[in-house]
Symmetry: C2
Subunit: 197 residues, 2 copies
């Protein structure tokens, strides 16, 4: 896909993901996009065939950011499951901080896609979630995570912490993405109870 993108198209995608994330997909008109770029509405159709194409491009950008960050965090010789978990949380929070608009579209605006784009978005999300679930499943198999762990809800917990952060994290706030990730890691790894129940 990237081989086909003109500089104008790249600019259009950047404006689209900013507006979709800030106001929502439905609330962003082709007119809004044209105005933000100083173009006429009709000229947009030189670059795209429909507004939805821009949402799909943004969702794909978000998916790619999360997948690549996770792959990079886990590459090389496999360290212990807790270390992998810590790195994966840092990777997720890193994307939330560095690509907030694409993350927001990947995490919730995708719902506004029609078919077949919607299925494509679900497939991308499922692919990422599967990788996160694997982290926990392998950790249980290795004996680093507890044998009775509900792997589905352990990964839902990871994703809830990471995804909800996309609604509140601000790069100009007091904590770096790594610091946020490490605090969640401590809760997720050890739990809140004073001793194992």
């Amino acid at each position: 896909m990237s081989t086909q993108r003109t500089p104008r198209r790249i600019e259009l995608e950047a404006v689209a993901r900013r507006l979709f994330a800030a106001r929502g997909y439905h609330a962003t008109s082709m007119e809004d996009l044209a105005q933000a770029l100083g173009m006429r509405r009709g000229s947009l159709y030189t670059h795209i065939s429909a507004k939805e194409e821009l949402l799909l491009a943004t969702v794909e950008r978000g998916a790619d950011a999360f997948q690549s960050a996770l792959a990079e965090a886990l590459e090389g010789a496999p360290p212990s499951a807790p270390t992998r978990l810590s790195r994966a949380l840092r990777a997720h929070l890193g994307v939330v901080a560095a690509e907030p608009d694409a993350a927001a579209c990947f995490l919730w605006e995708w719902r506004h896609l029609g078919e077949p784009d919607r299925s494509r978005a679900i497939e991308l999300r499922d692919g990422y979630e599967r990788r996160v679930r694997e982290l926990f499943a392998v950790g249980v198999a290795e004996g680093a995570f507890r044998a009775d762990l509900d792997v589905t809800f352990a990964s839902m917990s990871f994703l809830s912490m990471g995804n909800w952060a996309a609604t509140w994290y601000r790069p100009d706030g007091p904590l770096s993405p790594d610091e946020v990730a490490d605090r969640f890691y401590s809760v997720l790894l050890a739990g809140v109870a004073a001793s194992s129940p």
Copy 2:
């Protein structure tokens, strides 16, 4: 406020929270609201002075649902901190399941409010989050939760699990709200590690 609400106003609020949650506040016009009610756009102004009034009403409804459910879950003689935590998670998930539209507006559409309504929404959210933080702070003080617990991130974990569920929970899915809450409770209480690190 409720003493002033006519049946038509109640109906208007119900339609508004459904459309705000489904399409977003900005993407829902007064025309959309009028159409959904079979009224003329101008007639809406008999009932409200501006669209934002409906968003604030929905945010207040969501805040009240979360606050009331939590207060009810914790009333009476105080049980152990883990039991309070379990009840509080069930209360939160219960609201997500029973009032999904008001929950969605309380959790994210509030951002589209202008002042002074925006400050009012933040105050309501902060009030609820303070109650959740208290659960953990008291649990640490009682010795039921670990002494080195980061109370802020423990409550952020609770809220992340509960709030993110508002994006994926479906009442016709395989799990009841209590079952979802109990699974998150198990992860949050005991963590994922095989033994305390």
